[in-house]
């Protein structure tokens, strides 16, 4: 069976699962959702068939599992958002349509040789820095939930950090490929640009007040640096530098200290600062082994008031864990794990340094982001307001992750085609 036929087969399975998900939400919440909900599943499937056809034309040899897994994750996300806020689901659906279009465009434009983006690496680097700085521009940036990660233009609002992440990875892939031999020698003067990146990450942390985003960018950088140089010492030193910096910032900024103390003991402040995290924990625990079932979870109080703020963005995992239980939550995490394994497989199969670094960077960024948001919810690390890839409600996140998917497909296609 060819890769694309395999992909189609997988997509059909995902399509059926999507229909099942929407159907169960529909049966559980007939009063709130219209009969049209089942047609969503059909539209969804149609959209991915289009994406599949584009892939058939542009990247015939690419990995056949990535697109179906992305489809499955977005389907789970949209179904849950639909269950929580039907209006948001419509908007999210629209974003997915645009995102699939953007990914298709990326595939079409770069189908001959994506590696030409390498020559614009500094432009990408600059773009990343500009995008990261945007939320801190007075009049543009918006602070939501204590973190300044948003840009608002009129009624339109987006998180530039999501796209900055991709640009940073492209820049690093290009930069590290060209400098890897020099860097591996470990001479201090070659580390100037890298120290600059560390400084930028610290600046991001102070400006946005968001440890998670800073950790994400810096983590991607360290991961790629390690892949490029093969020196664990660099990664270790980088981590030390990062946490040293974090410690210093937390000594200077009292509000940041508060976040850490909430992380360590949210229950002692369950009525104020810790409320969100505590109720989210209850939500997960309430799911237990089997969950309540799609559409049957408890997310509102007896007068219809929401129990957990930011449920369909930052905390969508708590909602899913309640309704799908340990079985469903683990399955979801296993899909992420599979996606990550396929991504790294692509990096292994690629035969040039830029492709390897690009694929590894994109995949590691994806893994790290998933870990940071869910780990925050599960109290493995302090909580951060970033999105869960493909699942959370949010346009910028969906767009960025579909472009990430397109990137992996392009690298994969080239690697497989040459074998």
């Amino acid at each position: 069976m060819t890769a694309r036929n395999r992909e189609l087969l997988n997509l059909i399975v995902v399509g059926m699962l999507t229909a099942l998900g929407f159907a169960s939400v529909y049966t559980a919440r007939q009063a709130e959702v219209s009969t049209g909900s089942l047609s969503y599943a059909g539209l969804f499937f149609g959209l991915y068939v289009v994406a599949h056809l584009v892939a058939r034309f542009t990247v015939p040899h690419a990995d056949p599992y990535l697109l179906p897994m992305a489809a499955l994750l977005t389907a789970i996300g949209v179904t849950e958002i639909y269950r929580l806020e039907p209006d948001d689901a419509f908007r999210q659906g629209l974003w997915i349509v645009i995102a699939v279009g953007l990914a298709s465009a990326t595939l079409l434009v770069l189908r001959r040789d994506y590696r030409r983006v390498e020559s614009y690496k500094y432009l990408f680097g600059l773009g990343a820095v500009v995008l990261l700085a945007l939320p801190t521009v007075p009049g543009l940036g918006t602070t939501i939930n204590g973190a300044t990660l948003w840009v608002r233009v009129g009624s339109f609002q987006f998180q530039p950090g999501e796209l900055a992440k991709l640009m940073l990875i492209v820049f690093l892939a290009g930069y590290l490929r060209s400098k890897r031999e020099v860097l591996a020698q470990g001479r201090l003067k070659d580390f100037g640009p890298l120290l600059a990146i560390w400084g930028a990450a610290m600046l991001v942390l102070v400006q946005t007040n968001d440890l998670g985003s800073a950790f994400l960018y810096f983590g991607i950088f360290l991961g790629m640096l390690y892949v490029a140089t093969g020196r664990v010492v660099f990664a270790a030193a980088g981590l030390l530098l990062f946490f040293g910096g974090v410690y210093a910032v937390y000594q200077l900024v009292p509000r940041a200290r508060e976040r850490v103390s909430i992380w360590l003991d949210p229950f002692s402040r369950s009525q104020d600062e810790g409320y969100q995290l505590v109720q989210s924990t209850y939500s997960i625990a309430n799911g237990g082994f089997g969950g309540t079932g799609f559409g049957r979870g408890t997310f509102t109080g007896t007068s219809g008031d929401p129990l957990i703020p930011f449920l369909n963005t930052d905390f969508i995992y708590s909602a899913l864990a309640q309704e799908l239980g340990l079985v469903g939550a683990s399955a979801l995490l296993l899909v992420y794990m599979l996606f990550i394994m396929r991504g790294f497989r692509i990096a292994l199969l690629a035969d040039d340094g830029f492709s390897k670094l690009l694929a590894a960077g994109l995949t590691f960024g994806f893994a790290l982001q998933t870990f940071i948001i869910i780990g925050g919810i599960l109290r493995l690390i302090p909580l951060t307001g970033i999105t869960l890839p493909f699942v959370s409600y949010g346009g910028s996140s969906v767009l960025a992750n579909f472009v990430l998917l397109a990137g992996l497909l392009l690298v994969s296609n080239r690697a497989n085609a040459r074998r």
Binding site: Y282, N286, G301, A321, A329, F344, F364
Partner: protein, 491 residues
């Protein structure tokens, strides 16, 4: 670079693996500890998706508590409604979102929500949960007699006080009325209105269940206990004679009778009870000693929270109180035996406890465990639990009980309660305790009827009364007894 990529891949997989481990922890090991937490909003909400069991009268009528179904953002919730409003508010209590629960709604919450650990209920509710159907709680059937309960509230009127009626042979609570009462439907909607309830005492505190939480000086109704101790000691009988000079000398000072204008002179024990002569009981008390009297009181149930199905913090024990705490004298000299003997000293009692005293005398000296829950019925109409009458113990011998009955009959036929209009053949005892404010008394009356074949035992206590037990509390008892079949009082 492949070695590094493999290692980075392992890192990525380990990170996601850590998430699976953490999720497993929160959804298995941590669940039990988190579910019970008070601030768990989901669990609080879930309680209202359960169709609580009804609270009903003996023959499943009347309905004291029922459910109102309401749909809020796709979920069906059941909220409580109390169609009889204040009729049995202090027994039934309330179940609300904001102010949680009280009364049986609180103490029987597990039964009412079918979360009691009974194998068949657990099975039923798990199946319901799996099917996604509504969990139905068990219905609670009360022993209360709604007609008499209403008569009690009417008779108490706006006055502060309480009335309790027990079935002596079983301990069934037929009436448990506390006045002023409140409308439990307002607890959630308009709590301020409950706060504003006024009565002839301050604070009126309508939420307080005076029948089981109110502590009152019993006055002469306690003489029944003293007489029981005297008769059981073997040193006294109905024929024992006493001289009443109108006072009794204690610690070198005079303790006067209630009415000092005319001493009774030479009387026997029955007459001393009949006319409630303090000096006689004062001397008996001095003879017996405080500890002997309190020992007898303990046998009637004093010094323990009366067993009832209402929450433990909605009941208090009767006995001597010092500085707001129950006080047990270890020696006779720690309490004044003379004043104790006629129900003064620092003695405080609940109306329920005094009803238990009357019921024990009526039941040949055996104290029955009072109960207000007749049975609990599952949604499938199976009886989950049924209360069986249970002896708490014997307070006095049958002979003593008979002697006490004779004394109490004399009180009603031609003693201090003679003019209260009680049916002939009722046995009773009045009580009038001074409050320290001139002319203002706490009045009480305990009785059972018919005296020879007792069907009901009653205690009535009223706060801030200008009259005596015979003129205030006894007529209330009469009105309640008239509403009860078999008491010999209904016309």
């Amino acid at each position: 670079m492949n070695r590094q990529i493999t290692r980075l891949a392992v890192t990525g997989v380990v990170l996601i693996g850590a998430l699976i481990v953490a999720t497993t922890y929160w959804q298995t090991l941590a669940v039990a500890g988190l579910t019970d937490r008070q601030d768990n909003a989901i669990e609080r909400v879930a309680e209202f998706t359960i169709k609580r069991g009804l609270i009903q009268g003996r023959d499943r009528t009347p309905v004291f508590a029922e459910n109102v179904r309401r749909k809020v953002s796709g979920k069906t919730f059941y909220f409580r409604r109390y169609p009889l409003r204040g009729l049995a508010a202090h027994v039934v209590g309330y179940s609300t979102r904001g102010r949680s629960r009280a009364g049986l709604e609180r103490s029987l919450n597990d039964f009412l929500t079918a979360s009691n650990a009974n194998l068949s209920t657990v099975l039923d509710t798990s199946l319901d949960r799996l099917r996604g159907t509504t969990i139905e709680g068990n219905d609670v059937i009360l022993t209360l007699n709604a007609r008499a309960q209403r008569a009690a509230l009417n008779a108490l009127g706006g006055r502060c006080g309480a009335a309790v009626v027990l079935e002596p042979s079983t301990g069934r609570v037929l009436v448990l009325a506390s006045s002023p009462t409140y409308n439990p439907n307002l607890v959630e909607r308009n709590f301020g209105q409950i706060r504003q309830i006024r009565a002839d005492c301050a604070p009126a505190n309508a939420l307080l269940n005076r029948a089981t939480l109110g502590l009152y000086a019993p006055g002469s109704t306690f003489k029944v206990v003293t007489a029981a101790a005297a008769l059981e000691s073997g040193r006294y009988s109905l024929e024992s004679t006493f001289d009443d000079p109108g006072f009794c000398v204690e610690y070198g000072r005079r303790v006067s009778n209630y009415d000092t204008s005319s001493p009774f002179g030479r009387v026997n024990f029955l007459q001393a009870m009949q006319y409630s002569i303090n000096s006689v009981f004062c001397n008996i008390g001095k003879d017996l000693g405080a500890t002997d009297i309190l020992d007898m009181a303990r046998r009637f149930g004093f010094y323990a929270k009366p067993p009832l199905e209402t929450p433990i913090n909605e009941r208090v024990a009767s006995g001597l109180y010092a500085k707001g705490e129950l006080f047990t004298p270890k020696n006779d000299f720690e309490a004044d035996p003379g004043r104790l003997a006629f129900g003064q000293e620092r003695l405080l009692v609940t109306p329920l406890q005094m009803a238990m005293v009357a019921a024990a005398v009526a039941n040949d000296g055996v104290v029955m465990r009072p109960y207000v829950v007749e049975r609990i019925v599952s949604p499938g109409r199976k009886t989950v639990a049924r209360t069986r009458p249970d002896e708490l113990g014997r307070a006095v011998s049958k002979q003593t009980a008979n002697a006490l009955t004779a004394m109490m009959k004399a009180v009603v036929s031609s003693g201090t309660a003679a003019r209260s209009g009680l049916a002939p053949g009722t046995a009773g005892k009045t009580g009038t305790a001074e409050t320290g404010r001139a002319g203002v008394n706490t009045t009480s009356f305990i009785a059972f009827a018919p005296a020879d074949t007792p069907q009901v035992a009653i205690a009535v206590i009223l706060e801030s009364q200008r009259g005596t037990g015979g003129s205030t509390a006894a007529p209330v008892a009469r009105q309640i007894l008239q509403a009860l079949p078999g008491s010999g009082s209904n016309s």
